[in-house]
């Protein structure tokens, strides 16, 4: 039995005018161009244009062909066969074959310091290349998400270059050669990275000639530079700047949903009464997610879905998403429902409006709110305000983000906290979030599930089934089932799903589309962009008055130095 995850058709080059240099902003410099060890977000965005993966993922969670045209999974989910594109060449002219894919994976397997690919090779037993255009992966145990971790995370490197590298983990890779649509030209540290179109790109040469990533560390300057036309596109726009961009001529502002970004309210299930499901459900009723969405996130986010799958991932999100107990109820109805659940448990309201459990424990808790990003503290205050209405007293304690992480996920000992707010991003496969956060079957509990002390054996069984199910429809049904279970059991409560904000100009370049994840400006998208002014050189010209001013300044310096020397000579005589 095989499964084909492909949707859509491969991109075809059209006859359009080419030319122009596209300038995108970056919020800080890249750390490295080594695809195995780079760590900072900007580096992933740049190398993604140079190196390619077996496939890519669109922002709804579906897979899209890249170096592989199709693949199949064996019924036992242990063997994965990829059929590769024909006619692909490396940017130095060498042909791309299955040997390069095999080499890349074997390199990552043999060297644990190549940190970016360790998740992909964790279950990998071996790689075969039966012919130049076929690669077969054998796993130690069934793991369908290997498709994502292996196919989407691992950037394929040329064997003929990397085989000569003595220590790949410490290789600077200052002249990267990939198969992607853009090839590396130069890098000026702290300033910019220059790429140009690769003429022999297998998907057709990009229409633009050049692509420059220019660093603007100052967010306000980044927005102004876009408004001015100094750059053509910018990501990482602060939500406070959206107002100044919307409605401006030739500027388009878009939300770019992260495929899998959760921001949640967590509690320690070791702490009574959080171990009681009805208490967690009462909290879910009481928390006003619409307020958090509208007032704290200013509508630039997605409503938190208790199934923990971002609603934007339409491939995997439950059709009823966003799921939460209070969805569709009025504020009074929600509070009443929350209070009813606590009343049923016999939690009596005290004279000060705070409930106490039958054994006398007051519902009074400390909520750790990371100070960065700044909306967590405000979300924490909103939660405290909401929970007061059902007789829970929450003390919001703002703390430095790393400190919260070290309290909630201590490297040793039992986590000692009551409630917290946290966020995380995951690979765009549902397993990436669900298994990591909630799989709790000893002897290998996920380290995150262990922090909350959550355990649900039905869920554990479903998670094991889901990651071994090669049939996409059956797997989808299992993922839906898991989301419904989570939305009822509530190991934690997703408050919102963060989105990115990007903006681009349409006067110099057209053909922007909203495919792609992590960034609006993916290789898949930039490959299709065309210039509207092919003849005009897209260069920020230095005005000639700079020369005049410099000459005047130089003259002034010469005159004053001459004057000073003259004075000195005179005084000596």
């Amino acid at each position: 039995m095989t499964a084909n995850y492909f949707v859509g058709t491969p991109v075809k080059a059209q006859t359009v005018t080419s030319g122009g240099t596209l300038i995108l902003s970056q919020y800080f410099d890249i750390d490295s161009l080594n695809p195995f060890t780079m760590a900072a977000d900007p580096a992933f965005r740049v190398t993604e244009k140079i190196y390619e993966t077996l496939f890519t993922v669109l922002n709804n969670g579906t897979y899209y062909p890249d170096l592989a045209t199709s693949w199949s999974i064996s019924p036992d989910a242990m063997t994965y066969t990829f059929n590769l594109q024909h006619g692909v060449t490396w940017q130095d002219g060498q042909p791309f074959t299955s040997q390069d894919v095999k080499y890349t994976f074997e390199l990552a397997m043999s060297n644990s310091a190549l940190s970016n690919d360790q998740l992909a090779v964790s279950e990998l037993k071996g790689v075969d290349a039966p012919d130049n255009y076929t690669v077969v992966f054998h796993l130690n145990s069934p793991l369908v998400p290997f498709l994502m971790y292996g196919g989407y995370d691992v950037k394929i490197v040329p064997k003929h270059i990397w085989v000569n590298v003595s220590d790949p983990a410490k290789y600077i890779n200052d002249n990267p050669i990939g198969t992607g649509p853009f090839m590396f030209v130069s890098r000026t540290p702290g300033q910019q990275i220059v790429l140009k179109a690769y003429d022999n790109y297998w998907g057709g040469r990009p229409h633009v000639d050049g692509l420059i990533f220019k660093v603007y560390t100052n967010a306000d300057a980044r927005v102004l530079a876009l408004l001015k036309g100094e750059i053509d596109g910018a990501g990482s726009i602060p939500s406070t700047s959206i107002g100044s961009l919307i409605g401006q001529p030739n500027v388009t502002v878009i939300k770019t949903p992260g495929t899998n970004v959760n921001n949640w309210l967590g509690y320690n299930l070791r702490v009574y009464p959080f171990n009681i499901r009805q208490v967690r459900q009462a909290i879910d009723y009481a928390v006003d997610k619409n307020f958090i969405y509208n007032q704290i996130e200013m509508g630039i986010a997605m409503h938190g879905s208790d199934g923990d799958i971002t609603p934007a991932m339409t491939q995997w999100a439950d059709p009823n998403a966003p799921l939460w107990k209070g969805n569709g109820f009025s504020a009074d109805q929600r509070i009443a429902a929350g209070n009813a659940l606590l009343d049923e448990l016999g939690f009596k309201l005290g004279p000060d409006g705070v409930r106490a459990t039958p054994n006398g424990t007051r519902l009074e808790f400390e909520l750790l709110a990371p100070t960065s990003p700044s909306d967590y503290v405000r979300a924490g205050e909103a939660v405290a305000n909401d929970l007061a209405k059902i007789g829970m007293k929450i003390d919001v304690k703002p703390l430095e983000t790393d400190t919260v992480i070290n309290i909630v996920y201590p490297s040793a000992g039992i986590p000692n906290y009551q409630m917290y707010i946290m966020g995380s991003g995951y690979d765009p496969d549902p397993d990436a979030v669900l298994y990591l956060e909630f799989f709790s079957n000893p002897p290998v509990p996920s380290w995150t599930a262990d922090s909350e002390h959550y355990r649900n054996d039905t869920l554990n069984a479903l998670l094991l089934q889901e990651r071994q199910e090669p049939n996409i429809a059956k797997r989808q049904a299992l993922i839906y089932q898991i989301q419904e279970l989570l939305a009822d059991d509530l190991p934690y409560i997703p408050l919102f799903h963060r989105v990115g904000i990007a903006a681009y100009r349409t006067d110099k370049f057209i053909g922007w589309n909203e495919e792609g994840i992590y960034s609006q400006f993916t290789a898949l998208n930039l490959h299709l962009i065309t210039t509207t002014t092919p003849t005009a050189q897209v260069i920020t010209e230095t005005p000639s008055w700079v020369w005049a001013l410099s000459t005047v300044a130089l003259l002034a310096v010469i005159v004053s130095v001459g004057y000073a020397l003259n004075l000195r000579r005179k005084s000596k005589t």
Binding site: R222, L436, S571
Partner: protein, 326 residues
């Protein structure tokens, strides 16, 4: 005199060595007392699975006991090796610093020169006409600019000159171009990009020079030889600049050397506002990413420059003023 001079140099050198040792230690301690740690900051996702965390800790040598890290740090620093950067792994700190230093040196030397000349000029004029409207104007504007946070001043100038008037670019040291037709175009581009950063740094630092120059000048103006010079019938300019001004300039040597440290601090803010790829921006990013080796390297360079500048200022003092004896 020669013997005394030698003794002075020896004494100063011993003191410098002591300062240097303290700097060396603080350099190691300060980055590490910041809240948070480099591992959680390195990856986009702040929560790292234990194995990844462990491998990163090993990669950065942070699995070793602190005293051992300190010993390695001292040994390496004395050999001029600051180690490998965390945030730009696997590049060496020395390489990174060398890439960024020219930009900062360019900004700093230009703005320090302009602000010193401007400070001396305005200080002398202010003192000469003290109490007049010119003096009050110079003092008021100087104090206003001096007390303005430099990043705010930079942002205002960027908005006004860069965006509203559109005269200057919004950031960076060069334009986003594939290549330059010739070197002159490159120089022109660099000058164009550095204009507002230099203006910001100058405006933010000339005032302290002005005030000190003015104070020193006021003192000198009460000296008998100024009176004598005036009595001889010398012209105003001659008295103001040659007799009073030159003598009043002496404290400026110390002020400029001492101010160097605060100018570097200003460079951190200025370079961040203008996305200028110098050491200041590097320090800012290194603090954010808890890049200990990079911070150690950058602070070391700044500290050594300041110590050396002060040492030379002391020596220069003796050269400039024969009355000073050591």
């Amino acid at each position: 005199m020669q013997v005394q001079m030698r003794e002075f140099i020896l004494k100063r050198s011993a003191f410098m060595l002591l300062t240097f040792t303290v700097v060396l230690c603080l350099n190691f301690i300060l980055p590490r007392v910041m809240p948070g740690d480099p591992i959680t900051h390195l990856m986009g996702d702040t929560r790292l699975p234990p194995p990844v965390r462990k491998s990163l800790i090993e990669r950065f040598g942070m699995d070793k006991p602190v005293w051992e890290q300190f010993a390695i740090y001292i040994a390496n620093t004395l050999r001029g090796d600051f180690g490998i950067s965390f945030s730009q792994y696997p590049k060496s700190v020395v390489t990174i610093l060398l890439e960024r230093l020219p930009w900062t040196l360019f900004l700093l030397t230009t703005s320090v020169t302009i602000s010193t000349v401007l400070g001396i000029y305005l200080g002398v004029i202010g003192a000469w006409k003290h109490g007049s409207k010119t003096d009050v104007g110079i003092q008021a504007s100087g104090l206003a600019l001096w007390s303005m946070p430099i990043f705010w001043l930079g942002m205002l100038l960027l908005y006004a000159l860069g965006y509203v008037l559109g005269l200057f670019p919004m950031g960076g040291a060069t334009s986003a171009v594939m290549s330059y037709p010739n070197t002159f175009e490159f120089i022109k581009d660099v000058l164009w990009h550095s204009a507002i950063p230099i203006l910001t740094l100058t405006l933010g630092s000339y005032a302290s020079n002005t005030l000190i120059m003015r104070g020193s000048m006021l003192e000198v103006l009460t000296e008998d030889y100024v009176l004598t010079a005036e009595a001889k019938g010398l012209g105003q300019n001659k008295v103001m600049w040659q007799h009073a001004g030159r003598n009043a300039m002496l404290p400026m040597v110390t002020v400029v050397a001492l101010n160097l440290a605060s100018v570097v601090g200003g460079a951190v803010f200025t370079e961040t506002v203008f996305s200028y790829p110098g050491v200041g921006l590097l320090i800012f990013n290194a603090i954010q990413s808890h890049d200990y080796p990079l911070l150690q390297g950058a602070f070391f360079v700044v500290a050594v420059t300041t110590i050396a500048a002060n040492f030379f200022a002391d020596l220069l003092y003796a050269r400039l003023d024969p009355r000073i004896k050591y």
